[in-house]
């Protein structure tokens, strides 16, 4: 059973956002890492890039598949998690501890479109 964490915002494409002040940390969910299997590469944007809600900002590759990362919120990338460049498997170890990008939110109201932990768990349950 995949984990969810209270207080995070979740998207239908299985990304999460943790909000800290005007910044949001973005990663992929535990459900996503389980479905992907062993992750071997994370394609990340660069600092200063703009990400746009519902557009791809990178990709995750596993031994099974490559999957686009879809931004759950818009804003400027202020930091990327460099540790994932050498150790992408960290996402498999803990998908919520290992964020992918830190974004300066340009429109906090976009968060309203995302799910809470309970709704996301139900969404995963019903997906198939």
């Amino acid at each position: 059973m995949a984990k969810t964490i209270e207080g995070l915002y979740y998207s239908e494409s299985h990304e999460w956002v943790r909000v800290e002040g005007e910044y949001g940390y973005v990663g992929i969910t535990d459900h996503a890492q389980q479905a992907m299997g062993n992750i071997v590469y994370v394609d990340m944007p660069e600092e200063g890039d703009e990400v746009e809600k519902d557009s791809d900002f990178g990709a995750v590759e596993s031994v099974k598949a490559a999957s686009d990362l879809i931004a759950p919120i818009s804003g400027e990338v202020v930091e990327v998690n460099e540790a994932l460049a050498d150790a992408p498997e960290l996402i498999n170890k803990d998908a919520y501890e290992n964020w992918i990008i830190k974004v300066k939110l340009s429109d906090a109201s976009e968060l309203e479109d995302l799910m809470n932990a309970e709704d996301y768990a139900a969404f995963c349950e019903n997906e198939h």
Partner: protein
């Protein structure tokens, strides 16, 4: 199976020799070459006997698994038998001893074959014209999209920069579109993988260059609303692209041109029985409806009024996609296949492929989870074992199949199901082979309950056991020298 991974250089012994070169009929020597092109040290070639060479390559080939070795039910890949007459025709001196730069008048027969294959494929698919130049399916996709772009460009319609791709599409579709400079817009599919028309409708406007579709779709189901989809896309000024990866079940029965498609590519190495895989030469001919013929790549082969075949280059073309005329040897094989079957028998390929797929599906659905339980076309998808309590994954099942001498089906694709096993038997397999496969699949389902450890640690009988795919993907060793360092 005996493990063998030597390089031929490891067999080399100084002075050993297995050949004698004939005297050059042209009486030339290296002295005529400019200084910079002359070799100063001897080439480091392996020194081996003929028997060394024969054993070396026979041992290597024994490590291979191919359609000639056993059943190869790889979904979405149509691994049908490659008839040996194809090879015989492609080996004829009149085809293999010519040069691509010879004058047209000296290679009329070759151009005639190209022309006839183009006409045959047009008739089979209901398109007006074909280019046979693209080297592979993915390049065919790119070529088809270049044709679409060129078509809009020639009409002065520069706004059309988006291409719609269903979320169940083959991964190459969005990749080809991106390489062609088009923005990919994803359209949702319904649970059975068919396109959701209501999700499609709002995407259609004057920025849409076209839509890419595979029919039957990735779950082996026919897009029954294709006529409606074609109308909607055409009404907004877009074009329909047909991915021919799944053309096999329709061969001789249904024509994409009649469904309303404007552009398509075929994989000759799938539907038309030419060799497949291993990175060998492929061929991805692209067919178009009449209004797009002028956009096909240069050069095209046309039949002049004087009865002679000519190479035609035109300004309206989308450009050149290959140095010469594609992988011509592959084209010979595909043309041989079409002629060998003939008009009547070619109609049997599709129905038999469909029958074989449904036979396996129905025989196994009581022990493997069948998420879409309906008549399939040439392939279908299981979502792992029916009994999920054993913890046995699709990967375990696939690895165990190798122990029983079958190639594994496609696994973990499509992404619509977490434990996908995609099976495509093709029409060339006998009932006995299918029964043998079904029996083994049932035995594996029993082992999952009785002896799961046997499956977790499979394969047991192959030259190498289960590989560490994560390390292989992260730290690939791609050269012999690197492998020596690691040892």
């Amino acid at each position: 199976m005996k493990y063998y991974d030597k390089l031929i250089f490891e067999l080399s012994k100084p002075g050993r020799c297995g050949y004698s070169l004939p005297v050059s009929p042209w009486n030339t020597t290296a002295d005529a070459l400019p200084e910079g092109l002359r070799r100063t040290a001897a080439a480091e070639l392996p020194e081996v006997s003929e028997l060394d060479v024969v054993r070396h390559y026979t041992n290597l080939s024994n490590m291979n698994f191919g359609v000639d070795t056993g059943f190869y039910p790889l979904g979405s890949c149509t691994m049908k038998y490659n008839p040996k007459i194809n090879e015989e025709m492609a080996s004829l001196a009149c085809f293999k001893d010519i040069h691509p730069l010879q004058p047209e008048s000296t290679v009329q027969g070759v151009l005639e074959l190209y022309y006839n294959l183009e006409r045959s494929l047009s008739a089979i698919t209901g398109m007006a014209n074909f280019t046979l130049n693209p080297f592979a399916g993915a390049q065919g996709e790119l070529t088809g999209l270049m044709v679409i772009r060129r078509y809009h460009e020639l009409r002065g319609d520069m706004k059309r920069t988006k291409i719609i791709v269903p979320d169940s599409a083959h991964g190459t579709n969005p990749a080809s579109a991106a390489v062609c400079g088009l923005d990919v817009v994803e359209v949702k599919s319904k649970p059975d993988g068919r396109i959701d028309i209501e999700s499609l409708r709002p995407l259609l406007d004057d920025t849409i260059a076209g839509i890419m579709m595979t029919n039957p779709n990735t779950l082996g189901l026919f897009e029954s609303e294709i006529k409606e989809i074609a109308k909607l896309v055409h009404d907004c000024g877009g074009l329909l692209y047909y991915d021919g990866a799944n053309f096999n079940p329709l061969l001789g029965m249904v024509r994409p041109g009649d469904m309303g498609f404007d552009v398509l590519h075929l994989n000759l190495h799938k539907t038309f029985s030419t060799p497949h895989g291993g990175g060998g030469p492929g061929a991805g001919p692209v067919g178009v409806a009449a209004h797009l013929a002028d956009c096909l790549p240069n050069p095209r082969v046309v039949l002049g009024a004087d009865g002679k075949y000519q190479l035609l280059t035109s300004e309206t073309s989308c450009g050149r996609v290959s140095g010469f005329m594609g992988n011509f040897g592959v084209l010979i094989r595909a043309y041989t296949y079409i002629l060998s079957l003939g008009k009547e028998n070619i109609r049997m390929a599709g129905p038999l492929a469909v029958l074989n797929a449904n036979y396996i599906k129905e025989s196994l659905k009581d022990c493997y989870k069948l998420p879409i339980d309906m008549t399939c076309m040439h392939e279908f998808v299981f979502d792992g074992l029916l009994d999920k309590s054993t913890g046995i994954t699709t990967l375990d099942v696939a690895k165990r199949l190798l122990d029983y001498g079958f190639h594994a089906p496609t696994i973990y694709f499509p992404l619509l199901f977490h434990q996908a096993i995609m099976i495509e038997p093709t029409e060339t397999e006998s009932k006995e082979t299918l029964d043998g496969f079904i029996e083994v699949m049932r035995r594996i389902a029993e082992e999952a309950i009785a002896n799961p450890e046997e499956l977790h640690s499979a394969p047991h009988n192959t030259p190498v056991r289960r590989l560490d795919e994560t390390t292989a993907a992260k730290n690939p060793i791609l050269t012999y020298r690197e492998s020596l360092c690691k040892k």
